[in-house]
Symmetry: D2
Subunit: 432 residues, 4 copies
């Protein structure tokens, strides 16, 4: 979002490629969204299990609303909206666009039906195809950043849909499974090593080649003191040692607000963990199963990640350190396309930093803030990122439910420090 | 519920009749429940629009759970429960029976599916039929009070289902309708007259002939001072005069807690009323339509009924006065079977008390308490009524969504004084 | 309050007596209020330990405000109010009189100082004396009911002051004592006996001779079934047996809302009880001391009184039964003037009903409602009682912190069913 | 706090000076605290007007508790604590030290009396003097960092006492004044200029010379892009233009959480501002008076500062930019000793950056986080700063109620983004 004019022009020459690429990716991403719903039955689409969660139906409709609002209504002459209620119902947080339905009441809507929502998607797709085909080259180039934003936006909701349905199944005492478990190759994690980095003046942020969200720029310099990162993610076994050592009962390990949250919510383990006959089991998208000690720990809050790191004698990385360390690391890993829908054991025998991409989002110690010189774009799309820069922490690297093509080295995910339903885990850092 | 031994024995001689009657009424009542769902689609069954509301799916399952728990598990040898989760999920408030799912989270359950819930009903029906057919005469007679309770319980939930789905449709900005409106014959209400009663020592409570809930007895004497009741219900037009006279802005008309509620909830009209361009419209089961001045006012809280009565220079009747006045009044009126699903205009030209049964439940000034000598029965079914005798007010007479066969002169409905989603209205009273 | 015109006239002939009586009682009651503050230091006057509690300073000022508002401003020509802020600050709940300071913020006021509040009292007293002396006979007679109300109002606040300071000392971990303990004569309670009453049509409510609050009338008839009352109050020992028998862990003994409250508040004993090394001690106005088994139990809510009675196989009396039973019982007992400030052991060897007056207010099973024909008076003083007739229960008989001259057989005290800081206890009843 | 061993040793040689300096500063700071209470009467010491506010009495006692706990109990042989309750009552947030009284209930304590608290201070002072005199040189040197911390801690509470008493007087409808207003020389603010800074690699954090809180180190490098700071603080007049331009009604200017807070709290101006007859007046420590257009705006939250800066086309500075810009600026300004107790108009004709120190704390855009390599000290005093590094923003420069000797260029104050009762204002920044 917010790509400068100059860049929009530079895409001009390659407009046919661009058009084909957009048409292809539009189809691919829109159908990937719906493929995620294959295991669901109608009732599953309706439920909102907590205020942060949205019903699947809402995600399906909201992503269409995004294209309808920012493309079809804005740029397709004579377009008539599918349903006059949908502008109100499926606007998430764009106050500039107009009033919207209260977020925490999304589970109160039996109508529109799931079928109507799919019809809304059909209707949107049909008109989007037409728009992408018929737009003159100049118009296409001008709209390219917004189209990219729409596609990336839909991918973000793909991840949210899996996060949310996992929670919906969790609050149900019958604990349904989304899909049967897919077996992973690895069962034993390699020992953790420290990898050192020299720091100094480093460049941080997106280069301007290809799409990035506005919060990934401007590219700028940061000074980093020497630091070291752990070679792999923290495992369940390591986290259990923290639990066994009284980690959830020792306030001196926690931030003050973290401790208050821990006490108020009666946390004693990551979200989805249950103690059964002295053993930990956890709820996954494949149902309830034993916590395996070599898998990366997942569904911890910033507060827990921070307390664990303190207990372990380390700390979390800053997001700049993480980005610097990820330089040259291939963007490969366990993504949603791999079908595990859960982090897997780090492979043995590999050198360098492992699991930097995929598996779990890695909490950093960096509060989410705008980079020097950051300006959100004008208009409604300026609300995409900037207005959330308060009381959130940055996570990096993507997870087992993130689309692989969605992740970047400069990608900045962010959540409040008490949020746990996202697939978030821990990588240790320390001064070098 | 709570019928004495003696009465159970007295049903002995007529056991064949009883058996046929039970089988017939069981079929009739169970299928009436399901017929109410005909206008719904799957999504409508899932939603809980506020803590007091239950999803339709829950009502369908809970009424089966009642028969399964108190009959099949208790009295059908070798019966296996349909699903081991259902005891937890569909127990409403019987702490004696065991733990239960938190009431306000009923809308968080996508599973069991609607289809599974209907299968649960089929399964229950099949075994209930068998039990009703095969039970020896003595057993049938002994169980008769509980069977009656199960049937009456299911009827109560029929009314709740319509109350609840009305609210579910209300919170949806698309405001779906349950069914198209059925036209009523009458359009002009007759003038209100006062009908006087001498009072004195009166008998109050159920006679012991036929079924009654335990809270309707014991029959006992009360001393009533002379009083008068209004010949018909308060109309929308009369209520609008109260609104227009500042009824919702004058604390001196309200109970102290009522005024606090009015301010906190920003009440300015009955529930479901909306002011559009200076005219009142209201949400009904037939969708949004104009408020008609001669229809009885509906969906007012006790606080509003009490404030209106004070404004009008009258008061609400006590439940004993109401019961005394209803003596000899035929149990006829606008019930659910009439298909209006809304109160209708009182007929012109009739003498005596009109609209005593059906249309709207009439708030009385009587706090809900046990009659002298009241004892809930032993065991779980003792939780049916007695434990709610606190901070509630009694309503009498049944409503447009009550099954006609469910109402009695001694019937005591009760709601908290701030509840408005039930079909409740106002009849004035005064000293004679 | 609300004495009819006729009665006001009938006082005409004895105006000199009346004047002297008022002057005498005004001095006596006003100075009794201040005498209660003797053991306090300045800091104690300021604190509000929970929303229901008012600071001592507030009580001192509010009772003056009452006289200033309803007498001096209304009837003393040329009277200038003491401080223009006080009308706002010390109006309790009279919406007709004007806006007022938020009740739960009464502890936020450091000013006016305690000294200024005493000056306010001096100022009020001086003008009240003048008014009482100089008012012509007709005026005095006309105002007599309001003067009586003002005196009785002040007495009510005397009791509230002790209730409130007890709570203020309770929340302080240093647990100060108000006064040293005064030893009581008796240490062993007589056995409990049942005393039976025939019931029938009984007269209930104030006769009209002497002062009564408006809620004590009109005098009217009630029909009572035969009943029995316990000869004395329930003791701590008896209540402890209820605790030991799991009374606080057995939902079947409790009203539904009561059980929810018990769980939410984690009640496991009466208010002010603390378990120390397996023994119960309790906070009293004389500080922390052992719970003595023969003293009446005190500081229980309606929910606890009701659960205890159910556990004991009895019930609470209705307020009409209590009033009928109290007919002919002398209004004697342990009142504030006795200086115990706590209920004492029932004397041995006495016949009839003991402890009907004084010691503890006795919870009745009667929700607080207006008697047949009840009308609050017009104007602000009509707010005194009537607007609270919702979700409260009636208590009878007065307590160890009630002025003896304040109690009547027809006196109706009332509290919400979860309130515990008033001196409330239990007398059992049953059907005869 | 947290000064390294090396530094402690380096103070060795000058122990006599140190001892005299400590004795002198101890007397000065302790008596300055009490001098702040001169205008108060007993009642003012007791009140807690909101959870963030503490009663004056509590501040007086807590600062003594700090010395008693970390010096006397720890290092004065045979010391007996003044009152065994005080450890519980006056521990603020040191979980390592033990349980403590609930923060939000500090206003519920009438005892200990104000007099007893002063006695506690006398007792502490006497023993502290003895300890400071008698401690051997090596011990004194070892304790020096903790003594410094105790003195700085007491100074922080001096500022808190004025912030808090201002709020206590604010919630009182009588709005008392703390002291009469002291007239300021200046009445017209000079125009705002931009002062540019080159940025690059800059050193940030305390040098290690003299005392600093642990959160001011370690000194480290940061890379800053070129930036500019406004020459003076934002004035009331400038802020009023923001209000008049709909600043409080335009969500696009606000952070998302900020807007939610603004709506929920119904903010329409800074804290303490009241609109009277179309003019703004505000509550100050000198009572209610007109808002003067050239005085710096004060009592705005981070949310308001951020929204104002966005509206003005600028932004807030980062704390590193602020610190870099303050290099070489003399630590002079309007501090508590100046007796204004309110920010004053910037002087005309001065060059460079004005008002960097004193007047108001300046919100920065920097979330409060540990510097690279930051480690809190071991033990209870490690709780002083580190555990609050979450969901707070840094403020720089001191205010009109800060002791002048307490401020440093590297000083990091911090508050939650919605806090407004501290003396906080705005300086604009932008990219250069």
């Amino acid at each position: 979002m917010g790509l400068p004019e100059a860049q929009a022009e530079s895409t001009m020459g390659k407009c046919d490629d661009l058009r084909h690429d957009f048409l292809r990716r539009y189809e691919q991403i829109r159908s990937a969204t719906e493929a995620l719903c294959d295991p669901l039955i109608t009732e599953d689409y309706i439920v909102q299990s907590m205020p942060d969660v949205s019903p699947t139906k809402w995600h399906l409709a909201h992503t269409s609303w995004f294209f309808e609002t920012f493309f079809l209504k804005a740029h397709l002459g004579g377009y008539r909206e599918f349903n006059p209620h949908f502008g109100y119902l499926f606007n998430s947080y764009y106050v500039t666009v107009g009033d919207r339905h209260c977020r925490q009441n999304r589970g109160q809507l039996s109508r529109p039906t799931v079928e109507e929502v799919y019809a809304y998607r059909r209707h949107t797709d049909e008109h989007m195809r037409r728009l992408l085909r018929d737009l003159p080259d100049a118009g296409l180039a001008a709209l390219a950043p917004v189209i990219e934003l729409g596609l990336n936006h839909e991918q973000q909701h793909q991840e949210l849909m899996l996060m949310d349905i996992k929670h919906v199944f969790w609050v149900n005492p019958m604990r349904p499974a989304y899909l049967p478990r897919k077996a992973a190759a690895q069962s034993e994690a390699p020992p953790m090593r420290w990898q050192e980095f020299a720091g100094g003046v480093c460049w941080v942020g997106h280069e301007g080649e290809g799409f990035a969200f506005d919060n990934e720029g401007p590219r700028h310099r940061e000074f980093l003191e020497p630091f070291a990162l752990a070679s792999r993610l923290v495992t369940n076994g390591e986290y259990q040692a923290f639990i066994d050592d009284g980690g959830y009962r020792r306030p001196e390990l926690w931030l003050s607000t973290g401790w208050a949250t821990c006490a108020a919510e009666q946390w004693n383990a990551p979200l989805y963990w249950i103690s059964e006959d002295g053993k930990w089991v956890h709820h996954t998208l494949a149902g309830l199963r034993a916590v395996e000690r070599d898998e990366p720990v997942c569904h911890v809050s910033y507060f827990e990640a921070d307390a664990f790191a303190r207990w372990a004698g380390g700390r979390l990385a800053s997001e700049m350190e993480w980005e610097e360390a990820a330089d040259g690391v291939a963007i490969e890993g366990n993504f949603v396309e791999d079908g595990f829908h859960h982090p897997v054991v780090a492979s043995a025998g590999a050198g360098g930093l492992q699991q930097m991409f995929g598996d779990v989002w890695e909490w950093t110690r960096s509060p989410y803030a705008g980079y020097p010189g950051y300006r959100p774009s004008a208009g409604a799309l300026g609300e995409y990122n900037g207005k959330f820069m308060c009381n959130q922490f940055v996570l990096r690297g993507g997870s087992a439910v993130t689309p692989g093509s969605h992740v970047r080295r400069t990608y900045r995910n962010f959540f409040a420090p008490d949020a746990r339903w996202q697939f978030a885990g821990i990588r240790l850092a320390r001064e070098a």
